[in-house]
């Protein structure tokens, strides 16, 4: 019986080739667009996570802080929840590091009468505290301590980057929703057109004792098959585009700086299952309206 339903569904797809091809292309394109947003978020999130993992705060001290103050501060900072290590960097060490970093241009610093750099603590965070919210909280706590001049943790660029990603996320979700509704509408319309073209046949089937289930099942199979196939084609399209772009990317930028990955198997399966579900819902909507009549 199951085979019979499958055969009927395939026959229906072949009988309405043009309509089903248009639907298939629409589903594939929708999946391709939505999944490309997912691919972008996945990689940018991963990038942000990598940056966040290397996140550290630099705590600059007032010039009036003496050795006793520094010991107190080190103790107090290390005892804050979320802090894994607070390493003291003396102004002397900082200047030496700066000279190393400046290389040939370090001679510029030789004319200095006094060291302009402040003493500082480099504060590293525990893995669970490596979030923007946590580092903000910790910075405020550190700033409240005595003899602290300033706390820096690259808040500006991380904040900006996060807001850009959030805008993309919003646009991506909105577009994803829009494409989902459009695909649903197109699948529902395809099924409706097929139903209207087979109105007489369905009426006869009912007269000879066909149940609604008997009539509906091949349509559901058809919708899910179109959805599944559309999902697979969309994913394949994304993979080809990804392969092409990532190759170009690796040639022009350091692979270590931006190591981009394709979607996980779970996500691919999720997209295919999701498009099958859209196919099913599209059928459900049309069949419910049609068979009620």
């Amino acid at each position: 019986m199951k085979l019979f339903f499958f055969k009927r569904a395939i026959q229906d797809i072949l009988n309405n080739r043009f309509l089903n091809t248009v639907t298939l292309i629409t589903i594939s394109l929708s999946v391709l667009i939505v999944s490309s947003f997912a691919l972008f978020f996945n990689n940018t999130n991963e990038l942000l996570d990598t940056w966040k993992k290397g996140i550290r705060a630099l705590v600059y001290l007032n010039p009036d802080a003496d050795d006793a103050n520094r010991l107190d501060l080190k103790y107090n900072i290390q005892n804050l929840e979320g802090v894994s290590e607070a390493r003291f960097i003396s102004r002397k060490e900082a200047l030496a590091q700066m000279k190393v970093q400046m290389g040939r241009q370090a001679s510029l610093l030789e004319g200095l009468e006094s060291n302009p750099l402040p003493d500082a603590f480099e504060v590293r965070l525990k893995p669970e505290s490596q979030t923007i919210a946590e580092i903000e909280r910790l910075s405020k706590a550190i700033e409240a301590l005595p003899h602290i001049d300033k706390v820096e943790y690259g808040q500006q660029w991380i904040g900006k980057f996060t807001s850009i990603i959030n805008v993309f996320k919003f646009v991506g979700s909105a577009m994803g929703g829009l494409f989902l509704v459009a695909t649903l509408f197109i699948v529902a319309n395809t099924v409706r057109l097929v139903l209207y073209s087979r109105q007489e046949e369905i009426a006869i089937m009912r007269l000879v004792g066909a149940t609604d289930r008997f009539i509906k099942t091949p349509f559901y199979i058809q919708g899910m098959a179109l959805g599944g196939l559309g999902g697979i084609i969309g994913m394949a399209g994304l993979y080809i585009a990804f392969h092409f772009i990532s190759e170009k990317f690796h040639n022009s930028l350091s692979a270590e700086l931006l190591d981009i990955h394709f979607l996980s198997l779970e996500m691919i399966a999720g997209f295919v299952a999701g498009s099958m579900l859209i196919g099913w819902i599209g059928c459900y909507v049309s069949l419910k309206q049609f068979l009620k009549a």
């Binding site: 046949e201 007269l207 004792g209």
Partner: protein, 223 residues
């Protein structure tokens, strides 16, 4: 007259109205098991309407119809297929699916019942042989003559071995030979135990056959 308990189909004061027009007016009738009954009358007498009420093609306006003790007014949409499977219907306009072959049209009845492919093949071939359409099983209905289409319609009506056959003008568009062949088929089905209800205005058909005759005129039962 047989006792009412033997009645397979019972109609109690049945009315069917289309707006102000009475298509059927106060019809009360018992049709017994394995009976061969003619529903006679001129065109527009209400014969087809009465058959439509029996297969739930239309809802009655007033009264009650029982088929095998099931009150049709209480048959839900969900249970309608169950009732229709007790019936084999031969439509005046055949109602064959033009995009399906002769074989597929007949097989559809058994497919809706979830029968196995082997069983369907065996049964459909046997029925098509009986109606003389075995060699046309791959043809599509638009390529068949009226008589051939009627034979396919009969094959589809009997393939599920229903308890009741409802035939609406089964020989209406046929030549004398084809009409006789179809009629003989209905007699054979009746001989195998089915209750057959034939709506017709062909007087010669009625006079040549044995069976009770019910006369309808302007929606009323007159004899």
């Amino acid at each position: 007259m047989k006792p009412h308990e033997d009645a397979l189909i019972r109609l109690f004061h049945v009315y069917k109205r289309y707006g102000a027009y009475n298509a059927l007016f106060d019809i009360s009738l018992d049709i017994f098991r394995n009976e061969f009954l003619f529903l006679a009358g001129p065109s527009g007498a209400g014969k087809s309407t009465l058959l439509k009420l029996l297969y739930l093609g239309e809802a009655l306006s007033e009264g009650q119809i029982l088929i095998d003790r099931v009150n049709l007014a209480r048959v839900s949409r969900r249970r309608t297929p169950e009732l229709r499977r007790k019936l084999g219907i031969i439509f005046q306009d055949f109602k064959l699916i033009p995009t399906k072959t002769v074989y597929e049209n007949v097989a559809l009845v058994l497919e809706t019942r979830g029968m196995s492919r082997k069983f369907i093949q065996k049964k459909v071939n046997s029925v098509l042989r009986t109606v003389g359409m075995e060699d046309r099983q791959k043809s599509f209905p638009p390529g068949l003559s009226g008589g051939e289409q009627q034979k396919v319609a009969v094959a589809r009506a009997v393939v599920g071995e229903p308890k009741i056959i409802l035939a609406d003008e089964p020989t209406g568009s046929l030549d004398a030979d084809s009409a006789e062949a179809i009629f003989n088929l209905l007699i054979n089905i009746h001989a195998r135990g089915a209750t057959v209800l034939v709506a017709t205005h062909a007087k010669e058909l009625i006079s040549n056959a044995k069976g009770r005759v019910i006369q309808l005129k302007e929606g009323k039962l007159i004899a």
